[in-house]
Symmetry: C2
């Protein structure tokens, strides 16, 4: 079965597509740019959602739901926002179909043209801030800490499953505050939450930083980001948290009466992660045999395979392990399908990235032993049946940790300091990864570097040390290095 | 605060709107027909989702996600389906906006017209069965038991929050089977699941039945329904489960190789409940003081109010009860806001339908007592602090049961047998509710009755007894009574 996927070294992009397809994660649909998320892929997304939703609620956020459609005029109210989002989008112009009077099937009813076109939300700042105007009157109504799980649409010309699709699923937080300080604090709280989720659950190391002006969210004062590194040494922006200042409050006239009975504009943040995380998860850990999933997000953490097929003794041993694992809160499946050989099953579960596989054979069982294989390193070991569950409980922790360490080492080995532009291009085209270099701080230089190399500034790391230097392109003075990379 | 809502007897429809607004459940949005579900309302919906999702998974279903958009031509493939759904819908015709060359803001870019219009899904049978064609090859791929939680859009001219909105949230199950029997069994399994959910969680009694041909889902062979009765004696269709036969398999050419190596068309079901359930929940239990929520779906089950305000002894007692309740898995909130008086809080929590309220006053506490009030009957009792948590655990069960019994008595009292058309009209216009009457089985008669009285056939109950009679309108022979009602 593993022969069916292209190796990373042969064609990384095809390898990714093969895994998404062969591990039953997602499919292209009949609608251009829109994907179907298959049950197995959706099971991973449900785990991602569930953990994040719990983290949002623990930090005082609540969920709500706002309309799918945004009146066209709303997009124009925030000047930068319209430039960023009112371009490639799905525009609803009519509200009725009718039978073609010429017998050509169903056609748009020209008499059902909307007075004002509706845009399928590419992001919801405008419709939400238009609503907040009614909800916020006084400082007592603040802060408002609301999140929404929703689908959004951005008309993309070149799409890739999970990484870039016209429709995608995401969460978008939209909070309102009485002060700038509090809003900035919220932005950073969420950035930390995202980083914690990425590292502790996805086992995906990330760099926290702030975006340059050129890479900022359209309408934000500051955009913070977590940046990860994929196995092809390209960066992936995995989540963003925006401090929006008073821009949207101004655009939608959202004011509150402060404690001194004075009207003030409300301060805002917004933040989101999307099904793009699925792409990051796949590309951080998977190998040439298929998907690798960190145990904490795996829909099935352990699979038991009878060798060569089920039977009374093997069933009994499997039942015992299953009962013990379930009591530990570990998800486990016993594959009793008699039509498939064990070797076929091994390959299938490897492809699907099940973290731990238990093989139970009659001969081993006579010695009181079972075989336990881990997906990440493919190591196998014989363990006593009686202590197998306990062994696995620890093993799942080890796998989670190992995946993170492995990805972190890979990433750390690919952060390279360079001090001139030739070296910059050299590293970019050979080793890739993040390049730490001085930049003069202007958008002009940033754009020029992008034109020349396709590399962009991924972020200015939050824990950056100040250091005098010279911009690699212009030689102008610089106070700190920033991280460049080619990115998804 | 309760003065702010209109009483049911004065204006039932206004009473409903007042509750939705005053209990912070939902709001109209700036987009015609689309609602904003506010955090408190969404919290109830999250509980509904969570319980149903668990029930679907227990019965072997998995979740997936299909595109928001449906190519226009897909809707035409199933002849009846197109009649039912290709009428009032949101049509996407363009994929880009541009700056108006005449300076009129942002306008639709005429050069970005889609080759084929996309419809925002009103329901997903077509896009899903087009996908199933690729997923189903052999009997080994069946059954396919998939559910989707999604937003859908049906362009409604007259909307009411939760009950009828252009955009709403729902789940839609779409299953594929190797035989007619298995598909019918699935349809009924889901109908039972819906009825169980409605009665055991929503405390809303329902009648299970099958729809007449005229009320069937567009494209179904048979539509099963659960029908509830609201406090204004109008019926509410609360959930439907459809046996689709091979209609969609035929339309999208979905065949499987059976065990005898022969190609056969696949059998289908689909089924759904939506945010409309929120409307049913509100209208089944609430009263002139506000919302009433069954404990099993209440986001907050118990609220503790210090009288008149927090203080060391009261805080200590509250902490003790909270710890005990939380250990029992009961959600509880301690309202320590010093700016609001207890009377104001009482009214507020009454309006929001919190099932149980605990008042802790210093004087009562000296006697070791606290006051416990139940929302459903508004009865109050003094209970010892030490056994308060245990008392409340039982009380929540009692409230859940009482709400169901009360609603069931109300409903049962409003099922009236009538045997002629004058009596039919009389009952309909005075008492309302379900009218059990003979009908000749023709769509013609059904439509005629609807024209004359606005009553429709809600269902033919599954547990119907056969009984010879005469149609109330035509006098033609009939073998069984059916249930008529005016409905939402």
């Amino acid at each position: 079965m593993s022969k069916e996927i292209t190796s990373r070294s042969e064609d990384y992009s095809q390898w990714y597509n093969d895994i998404v397809r062969k591990a039953n994660l997602a499919d292209h649909s009949a609608v251009r740019g829109c994907m179907v998320i298959k049950p197995y892929g959706f099971g991973i997304w449900e785990n991602i959602k569930s953990v994040l939703d719990g983290m949002f609620k623990e930090t005082g956020h609540v969920n709500a739901y706002f309309p799918l459609f945004i009146p066209k005029s709303f997009l124009s109210k925030e000047a930068e926002h319209v430039e960023g989002f009112a371009k490639e989008c799905a525009v609803v112009t009519h509200h009725r179909l009718m039978n073609d009077p010429n017998g050509g099937g169903v056609v748009v009813d020209p008499s059902a043209r909307l007075e004002e076109e509706l845009i399928v939300r590419p992001t919801s700042e405008t419709i939400i801030w238009n609503t907040y105007r009614d909800w916020i009157k006084s400082y007592r109504d603040l802060p408002l800490l609301i999140n929404q799980w929703a689908n959004v649409v951005r008309w993309e010309m070149r799409t890739r499953l999970f990484l870039r699709t016209a429709e995608f699923l995401w969460q978008e937080g939209h909070t309102a505050h009485a002060s700038s300080e509090e809003a900035i604090q919220e932005t950073l709280t969420i950035l930390d939450l995202y980083a914690k989720f990425a590292e502790e659950y996805m086992a995906m190391p990330v760099i926290k930083g702030v975006k340059s002006a050129n890479e900022r969210f359209a309408g934000a004062v500051d955009t913070y980001t977590i940046e990860a590194l994929m196995q092809d040494s390209k960066a992936l922006q995995a989540g963003t948290s925006h401090f929006l200042g008073q821009n949207f409050a101004k655009a939608f006239d959202v004011k509150f009466l402060n404690e001194n009975q004075k009207q003030e504009l409300v301060w805002a943040t917004s933040w989101g992660v999307s099904t793009r995380l699925m792409g990051g998860l796949i590309m951080t850990h998977s190998d040439d045999q298929g998907l690798v999933i960190p145990p904490r997000l795996a829909p099935t953490q352990v699979v038991i395979i009878p060798i060569p097929k089920p039977g009374p003794e093997i069933d009994e041993a499997a039942d015992k392990i299953m009962a013990e694992l379930k009591a530990m809160g570990i998800s486990v499946k016993y594959d009793t399908d008699k039509k498939k050989r064990p070797g076929f099953k091994f390959a299938e579960y490897e492809m699907h990235g099940i973290p731990v596989r238990i093989g139970i054979g009659k001969r081993d069982l006579e010695q009181g032993m079972v075989e336990i294989a881990r997906r990440d390193t493919k190591e196998k070991t014989q363990q006593p049946l009686d202590s197998a569950a306990k062994y696995i409980q620890q093993l799942l922790e080890d796998i989670q940790q190992n995946l993170f360490e492995r990805a972190k080492k890979f990433r750390d080995d690919r952060i390279t300091k360079v001090d001139d532009f030739d070296q910059f291009k050299e590293v970019l085209n050979t080793k890739g990864g993040f390049i730490s270099a001085h930049w003069d701080g202007t958008t002009e230089t940033e754009v020029k570097i992008k034109e020349l190399t396709k590399a962009t500034i991924r972020c200015i790391p939050l824990d950056n040390e100040l250091e005098d230097g010279k911009c690699i392109l212009t030689g102008q003075p610089s106070k700190q290095r920033v991280l460049f990379a080619k990115a998804y």
